[in-house]
């Protein structure tokens, strides 16, 4: 093998020369697009880190998925807010109305003895006039 390899060093035989010529006849040209891609990647890598960071944030927020997610979150938040507003508003109104009705009933009862009796604010249990003493007052010397 070594002897053959020594002869092979210079492709001595006609067959070797032919083989060498055939093999050398095949080549591929350099692709200019490869160099363009390399330049682009190197330029991107050499940009300042701060700009790259800002670009990355902007790029992240302008991604279609991020935009869709943000829009969906906004719609959900608005919808929830609207629903809560509708749900809470009637309850508050009803409470105000109840307080107002109760207050009106108390005033009317104080002004109107019949209504006060009906409301149990006056002692009408024995059917007579009271002497001004409070119910339960024995009237005896204190």
């Amino acid at each position: 093998v070594n002897d053959s390899m020594d002869l092979d060093d210079e492709l001595e035989s006609a067959g070797d020369r032919r083989l060498g010529a055939l093999l050398r006849s095949v080549h591929a040209p350099a692709n200019p697009a490869v160099w363009q891609r390399v330049r682009t990647r190197l330029a991107a890598a050499e940009a300042p880190a701060r700009v790259r960071g800002l670009d990355a944030v902007l790029a992240w927020f302008t991604r279609p998925a991020a935009l869709a997610a943000a829009s969906a979150a906004l719609v959900v938040a608005l919808g929830t807010g609207w629903s809560l507003r509708d749900a809470l508003a009637p309850a508050a109104d009803a409470e105000v109305e109840f307080v107002a009705t109760e207050s009106a009933s108390l005033i009317e009862s104080l002004l109107d003895p019949a209504a006060a009796t009906a409301a149990g604010l006056e002692d009408g249990g024995d059917g007579g006039e009271t002497d001004g003493a409070a119910p339960g007052d024995s009237g005896g010397p204190s």
Binding site: V1, S4, M5, D8, D9, G15, D16, R18, L19, G20, A21, L22, L23, R24, S25, V26, H27, A28, P29, A30, N31, A33, V34, W35, R37, V38, R39, R41, L42
Partner: protein, 201 residues
């Protein structure tokens, strides 16, 4: 611009180019691609048999050269270093996927692999060159990865034994043994072709 001597740079201009590459000068990388881009592409396409994958390898090789250039001592030639990086990346790529040797019915394996033919002086016009080259390309497919790499580095790209062995990452003796076996196989194919041609004429 750089002076060249038979496809290789003059030593002074090569050292200047290396110095600029060490400073990570992008224009120097462009000069390297202009000088050796054809050989890089030929090596990658011959080994990978896929022009797109080969161009990707050349792109990654250039980026790797740019990154590693500050540490390049220049004891090896620039072309040898470049070819070694391309060969290493091709080996990695071949390990990642099964080698696609093409289809036997593929009538033009050179074109599908992004390779083209230079006219050769003194060519035997009686032979069907295209058919012979296609047969030779298919014969190269039958070699082992190591043998194929040896044939491409030495016979297709014309590197010296020392340069080719360094690019392949083996000793010169190991490289010669691989090349010898590869050539034996290819010559058998050529002899068979010649016999077939003589019988038909």
């Amino acid at each position: 611009m750089f002076g060249t001597r038979g496809g290789a740079l003059e030593p002074r201009t090569e050292s200047e180019l290396i110095e600029r590459l060490r400073r990570q000068d992008v224009d120097a990388l462009g000069e390297l691609f202009r000088l050796h881009g054809g050989a890089m592409t030929t090596l990658a396409r011959s080994l990978l048999r896929n022009p797109d994958a080969a161009d990707d390898v050349v792109e990654v090789a250039l980026l790797r050269i740019h990154k590693a250039a500050p540490g390049f001592r220049g004891t090896r030639g620039l072309k040898t270093w470049t070819m070694q990086i391309v060969a290493n990346l091709c080996r990695d790529e071949l390990r990642r996927r099964r080698f696609d040797g093409g289809r036997p019915e593929d009538l033009d394996p050179l074109a599908t692999r992004g390779l083209s033919v230079n006219p050769v002086a003194g060519w035997d016009e009686a032979l069907d060159r295209e058919k012979l080259l296609a047969e030779l390309e298919r014969a190269i497919d039958t070699l082992t990865d190591d043998q194929r790499e040896a044939v491409i580095l030495r016979d297709r790209l014309g590197l010296s034994y020392e340069e080719a062995a360094e690019a392949a990452g083996v000793t010169v003796e190991v490289f010669k043994a691989r090349l010898f076996r590869a050539r034996q196989g290819l010559k058998q194919i050529l002899r068979a072709e010649r016999r077939e041609h003589e019988e038909t004429t």
